[in-house]
């Protein structure tokens, strides 16, 4: 019994990481209808950036966020201004193809620079520290931190979207690009800010991913898939839904892994398929009129 409580708890905590993967993806799709195929690879890129920062400066992974987050945000802004804005239009295909190309470039670029060896960020004692909740149930400090950070990220994004001028600009531009420009909003700049915000979240997700487990240049697409699944499970357009989607995915994977270690990924995909079949609009869809 207690081991199942443990399993579910671990699943919930890992779900926070998946919610981080998904939040940036969801944000970009919501604001500019761009499906970023390179999202997973950008997460891995952030992990390698953190690796370089920690090795060069001799700081811990969590401290490295001070550099990695603004750096990734700057990369996001430039990427949107210089490349992705040119692909946006009535047709959904060009941005899809360009981000797919970007995905290939990032993977091969990382392979060239860092080889295919698995790497990991060392966070020190915090990695093995645990808290005993009650007899037989323990949670790791790091997964708990990761979950809390995910919760804070979603809450912060929710705040930005619905309580600030920037969020208003995001929502207005998503509603109608032409009318938003009539209000004096430069949509190229608004989109670039959205991508910067997305990659700031990606940076945090990348660092937590790299501390949690080994990574190599090829693991991006699977993270993209987890992100997609979390977004769809939660319902398009809802940030808290995305968070719930990540948790559902995490719990399903943890339960699968507990039954048979080979079933971890499969169980996640099955949960996704079941929800897609039973509730194709997701758990908490935002009705758009």
């Amino acid at each position: 019994m207690m081991d199942w409580v443990n399993v579910l708890l671990q699943g919930v905590l890992v779900g926070g990481l998946y919610a981080m993967f998904a939040a940036g993806l969801s944000l970009i799709f919501g604001v500019m209808r761009l499906v970023n195929i390179a999202h997973g690879d950008l997460i891995v890129l952030a992990a390698y950036v953190a690796l370089v920062v920690t090795e060069t400066l001799g700081v811990g992974p969590l401290t490295s966020l001070v550099i990695v987050v603004p750096l990734m945000a700057a990369i996001g802004y430039a990427l949107q201004r210089l490349v992705l804005n040119r692909t946006l239009g009535d047709d959904l295909l060009p941005p899809l193809l360009v981000t797919f190309g970007l995905s290939v470039i990032i993977q091969n670029g990382l392979l060239e620079l860092f080889t295919a060896d698995s790497r990991k960020l060392q966070a020190g004692d915090i990695e093995v520290a645990t808290i005993r909740l009650f007899e037989g149930v323990y949670v790791g400090v790091l997964p708990l931190l990761q979950f809390t950070v995910a919760l804070l990220i979603i809450a912060a994004l929710q705040f930005v979207f619905y309580r600030t001028a920037l969020g208003r600009a995001f929502r207005a531009t998503a509603d109608s690009q032409a009318v938003a420009q009539l209000m004096g909003l430069d949509n190229r700049h608004v989109f670039a800010l959205a991508m910067a915000l997305s990659l700031a979240v990606v940076a945090i997700a990348g660092v937590f991913l790299a501390v949690r487990a080994n990574f190599d240049p090829a693991i991006g697409p699977a993270r993209l898939l987890f992100g997609f699944e979390a977004v769809i499970i939660g319902g398009l357009g809802s940030l808290w839904g995305t968070f719930a989607g990540g948790v559902v995915l995490g719990v399903a994977q943890a339960a699968g892994a507990h039954l048979d270690p080979g079933w971890q990924i499969l169980a996640g995909h099955l949960a996704f398929l079941v929800i897609l079949a039973v509730r194709p609009e997701g758990l908490f869809p935002r009705i758009r009129t």
Binding site: A165, R168, A174, D175, S176, V179, A180, L182
Partner: protein, 236 residues
Amino acid sequence: MSSEPPLLAVQGLNAFYGDFQALFGLSMDLRAGEAVAVIGANGAGKSTLLKSIAGLLRAAPDAIVFNGTRIGGLPVHAVAARGIAFVPEGRGLFASLSVEENLLIGGQLKRTGPWNLQSVYKLFPVLAERRHMPSTALSGGQQQMVAIARGLMSNPKLLLCDEISLGLAPIVVRDIYARLPAIVNEGISLVLVEQDVVQALKATQRVYCLQEGRVALTGAAKDLTREVIAAAYFGM
């Protein structure tokens, strides 16, 4: 007529939709504080003229001079920043924003002037009551009020209104038109594109009547007779 340069001067404006030419060397001007109506049949080029001024359609730099600077071909947001607000046909409200958020987006350029949330709510009191409702939950007339108020929020020098009477009951149209003098009195110049010729003539000092992308008739609103307008309207 004063000798000071016009606030807006459109000179030899050509506009195209792909290969189709909608405006042919059109010229018009507008002095500061003036209200001008642009009338004409469907497809005469009225909306095209406004879209060209607002930057939504390509125009030669010289073709549109606003406040002494050439604005033809500038990006839409840059035109807005210079003080031209456009109330688009069909209102173009942001569906996922509340009434007040729509107004705040209108004011995000932070140009200074008499218009702010308080003063637009004074102009359209019904909007104050519904400020937190989704903009789509309002009646057509109220939505049109939001669109006009949103345009005012940027404290423009020039307000372009495209078919504000479209799809509204006559009593609602009269109600909205009754507020226009208050706007012009605050020093804003106005270009009204209208199908409703009677309303347009009452609200403005001068009229341009377009026909097939050219100015067919222009003159002071009070001097133009029905017959003259009908002739210019239908090209008879």
